[in-house]
Symmetry: C2
Subunit: 409 residues, 2 copies
């Protein structure tokens, strides 16, 4: 076990973890209309040309483009209007030379027509004839068969987060059901004799549970489903029983243990008993968040998080969100980020990643990132922050005035 107490850098810790964690994406079929923000589990290919008939893109007259060549306002082309193409049914009325058919935006092009003259560029001469005041090119104001997408063309790849327009694009092709990734299940096990549920009375010496709920929300936001296993007393048998149940029912188990050394050691010990290979990393060179455990037990991903709320959130973003993405078969969603200038010097040690909570302030039209100086064991450090900046491993700090990237909460 001694080797396990070596502190690893975040990339080294992640590499040790992923060498043993081999996520399997599970999929389920759901209605495309309900698939917003879900992750596609299989590649999709267009079953048809879209559109599958040529469509007018303006209101006007469907014509043979050649019949309009040379037309000008002074010397218009004369065409005979042989009818109107109704919306929503096949256009069967064909045009011959010198003929035109009235069409509406989105309507099917009549046989023999290859362009549309906008109604604004025409004038009725009488009931049966129009003047055309300008030439149109072949294909002008027409969407061709397959111009949106062709049958057999790849649409979207597995791992894609479905957006509003993707839902529209799939339904346009009649793809009303799709295979998406089943949300991974994250079990959250809280311990601490001093911790009580938020709806219970608290007595001196007791505090309400914070992390179970913050972690549930973080898991939900990352696309997982969270199960809370309640607050387990600081008792080896009780914690081991909760751990065994959670690892059975979940893909990922997160221990939000008390922060004391003895609790942490007990947690590591219990994780070791959950399966092979067991604890892979115990201690990561990140501030806050050093006393973190990464483990893989019989294929399940297991994390021991520091009890401090700020540390817990930093470590969740760093390791658990990517694990949820891996189980969804997805790349991480892009997070909102802004660039600002740092409001004060921040020191760091090389060989350690620092994550600093900041709020944003606009001064003379410029955006400044102002570090929130609360301790990492205070939840209001996070509540008062709008985002996080990272000081990378190889840096010994950032000076006031330098440009920083703020990842928004």
């Amino acid at each position: 076990m001694t080797e396990l107490f070596t502190v690893h850098t975040p990339p080294a810790a992640w590499a040790r973890f992923t060498a043993h964690f081999h996520p399997q994406v599970r999929s389920e079929w759901i209605a495309t209309a309900d698939a917003l923000d879900r992750v596609l589990a299989a590649s999709l290919v267009s079953p048809q040309d879209l559109p599958d008939f040529p469509r007018a893109t303006v209101d006007g007259y469907a014509v043979a483009a050649a019949d309009t060549y040379g037309a000008t306002p002074g010397l218009p082309a004369f065409l005979a209007v042989v009818g109107e193409a109704p919306m929503g049914v096949a256009a069967t009325l064909a045009i011959g030379p010198g003929e035109a058919v009235l069409v509406h935006t989105g309507g099917m092009m009549p046989p023999g027509a290859d362009a549309v003259v906008m109604v604004e560029n025409t004038q009725r001469v009488d009931d049966a004839n129009i003047e055309v005041f300008g030439a149109v090119a072949e294909g002008q104001h027409v969407i061709q068969v397959g111009e949106d997408i062709r049958g057999g063309q790849a649409i979207l790849a597995p791992g894609h987060h479905l957006r509003p327009q993707d839902i529209g694009g799939l339904l346009a092709l009649g793809i009303t059901e799709i295979a998406v990734a089943v949300p991974p299940v994250v079990g959250i096990v809280s311990t601490g004799d001093e911790v009580v549920a938020p709806d219970q009375p608290v007595h001196p010496g007791q505090v309400r549970d914070i992390n179970s709920y913050t972690l549930t929300a973080l898991a939900t936001r990352a696309g997982a489903r969270a199960i809370r296993y309640g607050i387990v007393p600081d008792d080896r048998a009780a914690l081991a029983a909760a751990a065994a149940r959670a690892v059975q029912e979940c893909d990922i188990v997160v221990f939000s243990a008390g922060s004391s050394v003895s609790y942490r050691d007990m947690t590591a010990d219990i994780i070791e008993g959950l399966g092979k290979p067991g604890v892979l990393v115990h201690g990561v060179s990140v501030k806050p968040g050093k006393p973190t455990i990464l483990a893989v037990c019989d294929g399940k991903a297991i994390f021991g998080l520091p009890g401090n709320p700020v540390s817990a959130m930093v470590i969740f973003d760093l390791f658990i969100t990517p694990t949820i993405c891996a189980l969804l078969g997805a790349a991480a969603s892009p997070q909102a980020r802004v660039t600002g200038r740092l409001a004060r010097n921040l020191a760091s040690d090389t060989g350690r990643e620092d994550y600093i909570q900041v709020r944003l302030e606009t001064r003379d039209g410029e955006l400044w990132a102002v570090p929130v100086l609360g301790k990492s064991n205070l939840i209001y450090t996070l509540v008062n922050a709008e985002g996080t900046i990272k000081i990378p491993l190889d840096s010994n700090g950032v000076r006031a005035g330098e440009s920083v990237t703020v990842v928004m909460h």
Copy 2:
């Protein structure tokens, strides 16, 4: 009505609209634990000091700091250990001069103690005494009463989007229920004789409904609840009936009408009949999306969107998302955005806002925004895009190589 056909710039159109639209935020009480991404409807003030007892932040010995002054590894301070403070109950065992009590991280400080010596900086001499190898300052390794937040202090303001840490912060104070904004209801009325539901067979001349579903997803993403009123035939009486029902049941009604001039005129006409003041803007200088209607009818927000999917999405982002935010009492959520270099020249007209769909490409480590050149009536223009860039009103274009901000989809 003639004045209505003046095309307005997007800011002028929004100003006309907001001069008549006076949103009322409705609120409801929900469990704080379920409030992720909801919008707070009332300001919250802390009901108590947090913590409400002083807590140790490390494992060690609670002491009077003065008893450790001058202690060094060579000349340690000797203290008598008078007991252990148990977790989760009031610390009643007080310390006197020269005494210490064993404490655990998060535990209550014993009366008389004002600092904690980390266990690493001590050594047991015998069952009852320890050596302390360094001085601690008053307050060191202690969270003071109210240090996280004080009773009476403002926590969060109305309009705040609740994040994971906010849920934790509220539950830490025992605030288990909160008032949040009721999601505004957006009614979506689709028309077009050529449009059929995506799960129905399509015949030549017919197309499947796209916009109802894309708009539903956009509304959901913005924090609203969408109701689809189906596909209404191109018939004045049918459209007027659907409109009357939607305006009764919803806060916002969106007409996704056919794109032809006659449909648009009929839509504008029906909107005029829904209440006062009626149509405020008919035509906005934005590309794509010019044939847009903004109206307020007896307090309800009404929009007529272009039928083209790209235009519909651009206009939704421009006007309907801010209207939903106004009904939630919220500022717009920050959207993910990235900066890249534009891959080709884009021309625009001054006096018009242009929104260009782009995909992102990394070339030699640099991010490039590559315009997706599909027409605005093709849904796959949006599916193939990763974000949008805006060319502002006063610009006549952007040159290849210039830096642009991409708002991610």
